[in-house]
């Protein structure tokens, strides 16, 4: 109330009818809150009771939710999990760049770039068709056998490479659908200003496309974070490997649950971050629009 409002704003008092309406709205809100609470409690307690009263529960509790084994396996998993984190921290930026490059290449119109387009098409078609686990196996065992000079031969390197190759194919398709969703009138108005095709993409189309595809990108990245576990298939001692190792040695599966919690905890901040990013974009660009 710092600005001097119009004279009506100072003299206006809600009418009795409006106050009554607010009371009704308040009651309706209260009712939805009560319904929501009851629904949540019934659903979750119901499922909980169902699980806990099932005949095999004591054994499951012992095998999967054992406090002792959880504590015992924690340090090993914790240090191994860093390897998963490092793998996707390296892979994610590479995937973004490569995916976007492939997507843009598919839309290139210059005749000189036809080979690039062909590669881009074949790349997405071929790579997306291969299960990620096979890519990891092929890269992990095949590449070192080539005895290439100047490239590391560690399984971590090749596992990460396989993930980058696999996910950039998915991400490229996500970017492409984003680029294609931008209305042609945007391209027309950019070209009318004299921008070239590349500039149009760079300054007009891609920035808008990226905003639209943030949620599906997040989806792929969460998936990537989990798929770092595939590195265990070629002998990388990451968190899932450690958990399996511990489990096999101690005949207890609790470490799997511990690893699962690690992965969940990791993805939640990413989800909140994307939500925040999306909200910020829409607040800035739709401010004042009705």
């Amino acid at each position: 109330m710092t600005q001097p409002p119009a004279e009506a704003a100072t003299t206006w008092e809600p009418s009795p009818r409006e106050l009554e309406r607010r009371e009704i709205r308040r009651r309706l809100r209260l009712r939805s809150t009560v319904i929501a609470t009851v629904a949540v409690v019934v659903a979750f307690v119901g499922v909980g009771v169902l699980v806990v009263t099932s005949p095999g529960w004591p054994r499951v509790h012992e095998a999967f939710f054992n406090g002792h084994h959880a504590r015992a396996s924690l340090p090993g998993i914790w240090s191994a999990f860093w390897l998963n984190v490092k793998m996707f921290l390296v892979a994610e930026p590479l995937i973004l760049v490569l995916g976007l490059a492939i997507a843009v290449a598919r839309g290139a119109r210059s005749p000189w770039l036809v080979p690039v387009r062909l590669v881009a098409v074949v790349y997405t078609d071929l790579v997306r068709g291969i299960p990620t686990i096979l890519l990891v196996l092929l890269f992990g065992f095949g590449m070192p056998s080539l005895q290439l000079q100047g490239v590391p031969n560690s399984p971590i390197f090749w596992a990460t490479t396989a993930l980058v190759v696999s996910y950039s194919a998915y991400v490229a398709e996500v970017f492409r659908s984003g680029i294609e969703s931008i209305h042609p009138s945007q391209v027309a108005s950019a070209e009318a200003l004299g921008l070239g095709r590349g500039q149009t993409m760079r300054y007009v189309v891609v920035p808008q496309a990226v905003r639209r595809v943030v949620p599906p990108l997040l989806n792929d990245f969460v998936s990537l974070q989990k798929d770092t576990a595939l590195a265990s298939t070629i002998g990388v001692f990451e968190a899932v490997f450690v958990a399996r190792d511990y489990g096999n040695y101690n005949f207890n599966y609790t470490p799997y649950v511990v690893v699962a919690i690690f992965f969940v905890v990791l993805t939640i901040p990413l989800a909140r971050f994307t939500d925040w990013l999306g909200r910020r974009y829409s607040e800035r660009e739709r401010a004042g629009a009705r």
Binding site: M1, Q3, P5, A6, A8, A9, W12, P14, S15, R17, E18, R21, I24, R25, L28, R290
Partner: protein, 251 residues
């Protein structure tokens, strides 16, 4: 409730709407009787569109009462869908669904909201499309039509559910001048057939011809209202005169 017999179709009292600190509508009173054509005029930002959106319950009002067909529809417990199924609304930017053909646009609400059979809905839609000169366009998608055709299709879409009240929000504002006529002709026909309408418009000569009453909005208030021949030629308020001088071609 059916106390509409004799009473006004729509009655607005002391309507108030604000977005945060900004008051967009204040002390708005409006009575619309069956077969009335009420034109809302005023510069952009005067609250015409907001008023229409409040009437269709697209916006929650901050105070005041809206009664439609004798029932208060500004009550939070009211079934908005039921109210809207009795009103038709046409927007400035047509807002046709681009993924449906014109015919599908027109039959969506009759079939999904009013429970009409496909055959019934299509028959009525085709009849109206034919009447509005769109018979050939029924199978096309909206983006293939001209602006005028799109807006006529949007009108048909609104009419297909036989609403008792039609709300038109500056429906010619996005059209080329030569296309404005074809849309206004239809609205004029509707007015002659006795359709009750509330419309925001910038077309003063049109308002003069079809309106039963004209309301001049200024800064969210109805500053003046009256029959068009009086309000448009001999307004009481200085603000109205000022506005009319700007929009009316010098006679």
């Amino acid at each position: 409730m059916t106390e509409t017999a004799g009473g006004p179709l729509l009655e607005v009292t002391d309507l108030r709407k604000s977005y945060g600190e900004r008051v967009v509508l204040a002390d708005v009173d409006l009575v619309v009787n069956p077969h009335d054509v009420v034109c809302l005029i005023g510069s952009s930002g005067s609250g015409k569109s907001t008023l229409l959106r409040c009437l269709n319950l697209l916006e929650d009002v901050d105070d005041g009462v809206i009664r439609f067909e004798g029932r208060e529809i500004s009550d939070p417990r009211v079934d908005r869908r039921a109210v809207r199924s009795r009103m038709g609304m046409v927007f400035q930017a047509y807002n046709l669904f681009p993924h449906l053909t014109v015919l599908e646009n027109c039959t969506l609400a009759p079939r999904r909201v009013h429970g009409a059979s496909r055959a019934e809905a299509e028959e009525r839609a085709r009849q109206l499309l034919d009447q509005f000169g769109l018979a050939d366009q029924a199978g096309k998608h909206p983006d293939r039509l001209s602006g005028g055709q799109q807006q006529r299709a949007a009108l048909v879409r609104a009419l297909c559910t036989s609403p008792t009240l039609l709300l038109l929000d500056e429906i010619t504002a996005a059209l080329d001048p030569e296309l404005v006529g074809e849309v206004l002709t239809i609205v004029r026909d509707l007015a002659e057939q006795g359709t009750t309408m509330v419309l925001a418009t910038h077309e003063m000569s049109f308002a003069r011809d079809v309106a039963t009453s004209v309301c001049f909005l200024h800064e969210g208030r109805i500053l003046e209202h009256g029959p068009p021949e009086q309000l448009l030629t001999d307004p009481r308020e200085a603000r109205t005169r000022q506005f009319l001088r700007r929009v009316l071609p010098p006679a």
